[in-house]
Symmetry: C2
Subunit: 540 residues, 2 copies
């Protein structure tokens, strides 16, 4: 009977035959994700490792195993697809970053962040493009045109904000975190805009008109993307406040927040805006308004559910990149000249190091000029950390490189094959080596994070864990604003603390006009029958 049943069951695959291979792939992938979580958790105490690197290494090992099992035919389970990355995996990560970011720190350093993200990326792009053009011409790597060199500049200017988030800690080093992460978001947007511009502009005649057009289009994109994200976030807050969702269901509130955030991302894609910026600002606005309009359960659920989704997506990316790195197809074409590929990768890593140094230190100097108090300035040790934390290259670089160098069929051109394998090498090397060294470096350079921990010292420093106390509606990040902001008593003080003053007037505007319409902290949704809500009313 056993054999009969086996036969029988083997025949019962009508519903699955068409995609049984993909079922196997999904199984292995999900099992590996589980393994990453468990192993990453066990290595938590280790001073070198973080979850990204664990996932990357597990991905590499699985790639080797698959390579051996399939007899060298294939090493990856899923085909790398930009769509998969840009449409499904990136949005939750960036949205969650906006949702959890400490808004006060972010907006206080807004100008510095924009300097680093936009100007810095352009500097880095120029240095990498120019360096590659000069050095690669003397190497035997096939024909590359000027547009290719510019694309290389854009590809390797895109830092990996995901990996950075895992290395720096928002509670321990809030200033650095907001600078590096904020830079990462603006950098992502800048690189993608740059890359698209290079593919479309007529590069052969660079003149001032084209540069003006380019700057104009960048500002246009930045402004419209931000507005779209803000509008989506406000709309969500307005709907939840005015339709009183909490009356019936937590699920509806959470579902609406998720779907509206995703809708903002996809709308930005639809209108060719920077969807990364849009969903980031949508997250900020939602956490400022919509999050306060929902029930207690929804607040806890959204905080953790969005973080969990983002966490899974991050692991997915690193696992995938690790697995994809060994794809035999790509390495076949450079197997007769491994030295060239190593050389190209080393040069690129060198250019990345130089390109980043070339803007971090000068721009930090500029930024420090505007700050009056010494503790607001970016110290030299912090500058080194910022420089170092942005060296990693990740999935955005991979996606751009695939877009550029496989579109014409990379099997035909030696140069394309070399650029793809070099990108993989740079991504792997920078993530693993630079990533491994970041934790020790941060501890070495910033041994006592207390002097940075001004506004957040009340928080327990549990790494990667934010415990949301139930009756504490985000006071950690906001409640102390009223008392901390120095009231401008004289013109001189107003001039000396421009950022604080802007913040103060924004606060007044927010309280007078925005909160009555869109809710926000202080709005208490009344849920009949909920003991939590009842106790909240009693304590008020």
């Amino acid at each position: 009977m056993g054999v009969d049943l086996g036969n029988l069951l083997a025949k019962m695959d009508i519903l699955s035959t068409s995609d049984h291979t993909s079922v196997v792939s999904i199984n292995i992938f999900v099992a590996l994700l589980c393994a990453c979580i468990v192993i990453g958790h066990m290595l938590e105490e280790n001073r070198w490792m973080n979850e990204s690197i664990t996932a990357l290494i597990i991905g590499l090992c699985s790639g080797i195993v698959i390579l051996l099992v399939t007899g060298g035919r294939s090493s990856h389970l899923l085909v790398f697809s930009e769509d998969l990355f840009f449409i499904y995996v990136l949005p939750p990560i960036i949205f969650n970053a906006g949702f959890q970011v400490k808004k006060k720190q972010f907006f206080r350093n807004f100008i510095t962040i924009m300097l680093f993200g936009a100007i810095g990326t352009l500097v880095s792009f120029a240095i990498i493009s120019f360096g590659a053009m000069k050095i690669f011409k003397n190497m035997n790597i096939g024909s590359l045109e000027i547009a290719d060199y510019l694309a290389i500049g854009a590809i390797f200017s895109a830092t990996d904000s995901v990996c950075t988030l895992q290395v720096l800690n928002q509670d321990e080093t809030p200033l650095l975190y907001s600078l590096v992460f904020g830079e990462g978001v603006v950098n992502d947007a800048t690189s993608v805009v740059l890359f698209n511009a290079i593919q479309n502009f007529d590069i052969s005649h660079i003149n001032s008109s084209i540069i003006l057009q380019f700057v104009g289009s960048f500002l246009y994109l930045f402004f419209l993307s931000t507005v779209l994200g803000v509008v989506a976030g406000l709309l969500c807050a307005f709907i939840i406040k005015n339709l009183y969702f909490g009356r019936h269901s937590t699920d509806r509130e959470v579902a609406l927040m998720m779907l509206m955030a995703y809708l903002s991302y996809m709308l930005a894609e639809l209108f060719y805006l920077s969807s990364i910026l849009t969903v980031f600002f949508c997250g900020i606005v939602m956490s400022h308004y919509a999050w306060h309009n929902v029930t207690e359960s929804s607040r806890i659920t959204t905080k953790h559910a969005f973080a969990t989704l983002s966490f899974i997506c991050e692991l997915f990316i690193f696992l995938y990149v690790g697995m994809d790195a060994l794809d035999i197809e790509k390495w076949k074409f450079i197997s007769n000249s491994p030295g060239t590929s190593v050389g190209v990768s080393s040069i690129l890593i060198g250019l990345i190091l130089v390109g980043r140094a070339a803007f971090v230190f000068p721009l930090s100097f500029l930024s420090n000029l505007t700050k009056k108090t010494p503790y607001e300035k970016i110290e030299i040790k912090q500058q080194v950390t910022i420089w170092w934390a942005g060296l990693m290259r990740g999935a955005v670089s991979m996606a751009l490189a695939y877009n550029k160098f496989t579109s014409e069929g990379f099997t035909q051109f030696r140069a394309n094959a070399i650029m793809i394998t070099s990108t993989i090498t740079v991504v792997l090397f920078s993530t693993v080596v630079f990533g491994l060294l970041t934790k020790p470096l941060v501890r070495l350079l910033l041994p006592s994070p207390k002097h940075l921990n001004r506004t957040l010292s009340s928080e327990p420093t549990t790494p990667k864990s934010f415990i949301v106390p139930l009756l504490d509606n985000g006071q950690n990040s906001e409640a102390d604003l009223g008392s901390h902001i120095p009231r401008p008593t004289s013109l001189r003080m107003l001039l000396s603390t421009p950022a604080h003053t802007v913040h103060y007037y924004w606060r007044k505007f927010d309280n007078a006009f925005m909160r009555p319409v869109f809710g926000g902290r202080g709005f208490v949704p009344f849920v009949p029958g909920s003991p939590i809500e009842q106790s909240m009313h009693q304590t008020e």
Copy 2:
């Protein structure tokens, strides 16, 4: 400048060109999902509507609009894919159902549920197949073989448990809910097994050996699927308990639970088991053990996040079915004989009504024979409700029909086209008409749900909303077990309450052996620094 920028932006579509159509589709789809949530919320008070019907009607309307906009070329945005349905959309719904089900009710009625789900589905299958065979032969609908008729029986035996869940309420009618929903899960599994069996067995020689083989394979599938789900759930509980995840991060716990549940589903798919049963039992075990091992935040997050995912997936299915219904391709082939399609659909609906009546009333009678106390029996009014609530046909029927009647290219065979359109008609009609009438019917037949509300009378009867009080670890569903179960004082009492006795010994076994290993209620993870945990320790 405005026009220039417009041009410029229009050219910047390198990253999106390849799939700009799909970006548009995703945008419309997500926007419609948001609309469904908001409109469904506003119609909550309406006595006829529920969210499924709202989504279905919005889908139909969008289908009409798209049909008009595209000039009659297409009405749907995404192509119906069984894979999409079975691999991505169904697992969250069934897992959440297992996770939220009231375990006590479910296991108390286990035998009745199995009777309804397995025997009932077979009866319904036989009647629909036989009826269709007799009636359709005299109609002009092209050539159908005996295997086709049997497939029709299996397709229309698959009830729509998703829609049922939205109509019945777990708190108001716990007995009915557990019966109808439990039946739905077993029914899904039975229909899919039946359908696969029909496609593989040599139908022309039905003899006792084949029937025995069939019964054997069904039991084998049922047993293995359940075991796989239970093992996955226990493994997850074990990992979380022993590695002490709460120490670091809520996100890891939630991510692990989600991924392990999905892994169990995909493993079942891999081994050709019934993945629906597997993930259902995985959900039950996780809510019994793993859920109690995690931090307070994780408990609230999982409860609501799983419900939210399930909610979105349900809306997705109904919106999709509504939109897909108008696909012009399918209707083209029967446009010259609309009467035949209406006739076939009416006959099928009639067969569904008869087929369901033919097992609900006899099996209820059988089930009542085993019950001693009158309040445990299924009254005639409840029988009518059970009969009615299982009449709806949904996405499983659609998926099976597509699998059967489009695999050979339905454009070539008139009979196939008629069966596809009839399936759509039956799904739409049963969901909208039967669905609309269910709420009023339940109120008419069961005007005062108090006599059913024995174990749950302490819960507020807020529809579709489960408020999880923070310090109340699921006592609603479990804490009263110890006191409510009558201790067997004599052999006669033991015989009169066999289900309770089984439950009593299971409780003893659970407390003595399972909970020390796998955690569960009473296991308090210690999280340093969490004020909630501290207060819990103090109150203990």
